[in-house]
């Protein structure tokens, strides 16, 4: 795994606000994520988990507040600098968001695109060369699908495709992995395997991992820190052992949400 990230990314959000038109998606969120930390984002649908992850990935600009990645203020970045910042942060989507009708190898290779010119990326897709293919194979071996190197992506099962997405994230040479409900479309046993895979890969490589999860059980079992989001606001942010079941109950409680609304 020579081609992976060495040091994790640090994130610092202060009074973050994100509006989509007149809808407030995030309000006054402050959060600190240390290098190499592993955090589970929990909360009901529409709480702002995806928006928060998109802000961390520099694809959504906050309407208020600041976001710093490794001490640098992203809100002051130009488009080119933002692209550079994105290339260091991998995103594993809820939908698979792979290119379906190409080989697994090429989907994984596309992970490096953010650091390449257009012609450079075209060249490395068409003529990957032995070294790149070996690097991809090594990563696929790590995520458990080494035999799928030349397989067509859309012919793989949902769980296998999610592993391709993880492989693409690893090949990206990132410093952090953000995962948005990465196990939403796989069965419970495979969901657990995928969470274990992501957390152990992040730990081995010192990557920061922020994952949103519907499944509270998985979040509590595999993550040392839980961040609860509700109605776009931070409900709690604490070590997993300190989060009480009342807090979790309140997070998903429908009647309470109506009161707040």
């Amino acid at each position: 795994m020579s081609r992976e990230c060495q040091t994790g990314a640090r994130f610092e959000l202060r009074d973050l606000e994100v509006d989509y038109g007149s809808t407030r998606a995030l309000a006054g969120v402050s959060l600190r994520v240390e290098a190499g930390e592993q955090i589970a984002l929990v909360g009901p649908s529409g709480a702002g988990k995806t928006t928060l992850l998109s802000v961390l990935n520099a694809t959504v600009r906050p309407t208020g507040g600041t976001i710093e990645v490794n001490g640098a203020d992203l809100t002051a970045y130009s488009v080119r600098e933002l692209r550079r910042a994105r290339s260091e942060i991998a995103f594993v989507h809820q939908g698979l968001n792979l290119i379906p009708n190409i080989r697994v190898l090429h989907n994984v290779l596309s992970g490096r695109m953010g650091r390449q010119s257009f012609l450079g990326s075209l060249f490395s897709m068409l003529f990957p060369g032995r070294k790149r293919v070996e690097a991809v194979h090594e990563i696929l071996d790590r995520v458990g699908i080494p035999d799928k190197l030349y397989g067509y992506t859309h012919r793989l099962s949902g769980g296998q495709q999610q592993r391709v997405a993880i492989a693409r994230a690893l090949y990206q040479n990132c410093r952090a992995i953000l995962a948005d409900e990465p196990v939403a479309s796989v069965d419970p046993a495979r969901a657990r395997d995928l969470v274990v895979l992501l957390t152990s890969i992040a730990r081995e490589n010192g990557l920061t991992l922020v994952m949103s999860l519907h499944n509270l059980e998985l979040a509590q079992r595999y993550f040392p820190r839980l961040v609860g989001l509700r109605q776009g606001e931070l409900a709690f942010d604490a070590p997993t052992s300190d989060v009480s079941s009342e807090q979790l109950q309140a997070l998903y409680d429908l009647s309470a949400s109506q009161v707040v609304a």
Binding site: T59, S78, S87, N97
Partner: protein, 294 residues
């Protein structure tokens, strides 16, 4: 009972209305043109021509029908195959050039690469340029495409023939211009309709707008693009054959000559070779599409 049926019936949407109006338009046109099916009954002379022509359908000529064939003339079958080869060459050259035009113009004519998808730049000058210049590029690409494809390849050929005289280059150009327009239009539509999920993913890992467009959209749309390209190749082969009627050395040239000399056996020979070629292309393209689908 009828009320119950009425309650169950689906509200009539735009599709039903469109279908109905096309039918009505057809009937109206039929009567306003004063079409008479009796026109299809041939007179005595026409009947003899028809009879002579179709009597050779099962006995196409294997050698020339002319009483005098100059020394050194290619055997008929070789000439037929050679002219089909020429026909394919013209079609391939025309479509190759059209593909180039189609990809470039299709890129500028598609919504996908610039509407909202370019990462939000805060630089006001950049924003102003984007907002004022890109619509100009977009609209001129669309207008150019419309002009290219609304003029039929035979009209382009006539025009070029008048302007430049008979040359193989003008034949290729006459094919390439309308086909380039068609490819550009269809390419831009296919690309615009491709799902955007991969766009999101590629943007997220720092890809540039050009990379996002090419790898996220064009790659996803590639099977549809290729299928359409195959279909267009078939059309180009037929058009290229017809260009022979204008004097270009494709199948149509020999077909027209034999027809004028009343050598119907030769006409059938050329027709069968053309049919064989089109069927072959059809088989090839469907086999190719199958291999993409599975």
């Amino acid at each position: 009972m009828s009320q119950a049926v009425a309650a169950l019936s689906r509200p009539r949407g735009g599709r039903g209305v469109a279908l109905l109006s096309i039918l009505v338009a057809g009937v109206v046109a039929f009567f306003s043109l004063g079409l008479d099916l009796r026109d299809l009954i041939p007179d005595r002379g026409g009947l003899t021509v028809l009879g002579k022509f179709f009597s050779r359908a099962l006995s196409p000529a294997l050698t020339y029908e002319a009483s005098f064939v100059p020394e050194g003339t290619q055997p008929l079958l070789l000439k037929a195959i050679g002219s089909v080869f020429k026909t394919v060459l013209f079609a391939a050259a025309g479509l190759g050039l059209a593909l180039l035009l189609g990809v470039v113009l299709g890129f500028f004519a598609s919504n996908a690469w610039w509407v909202g998808d370019v990462s939000g730049n805060r630089n006001p000058i950049f924003r102003w340029v984007r907002r004022s210049m890109l619509p100009v590029v977009f609209v001129s690409a669309r207008v150019l495409i419309a002009v290219m494809r609304s003029i039929h390849e035979l009209l382009w050929a006539t025009l070029f023939l008048a302007a430049f005289g008979l040359s193989d280059t003008t034949a290729v150009l006459a094919l390439a211009i309308p086909y380039g327009g068609m490819l550009a239009k269809v390419f831009s539509e296919i690309v615009d309709e491709a799902p955007r999920d991969t766009v999101l993913a590629l943007k997220g890992l720092g890809a540039s707008p050009l990379q996002v467009f090419f790898f996220g959209l064009v790659t996803r749309a590639a099977p549809d693009l290729l299928a359409y390209l195959f279909y267009r190749f078939e059309c180009a082969v037929r058009a290229s054959a017809i260009l022979g009627f204008f004097g270009y050395p494709t199948l149509g040239y020999y077909l027209a000559a034999s027809f004028e000399n009343l050598h119907y056996g030769e006409v059938w020979t050329y027709l069968y070779v053309l049919i064989a070629l089109v069927s072959l292309l059809d088989w090839w393209s469907s086999a190719f599409r199958r291999s993409l689908a599975t």
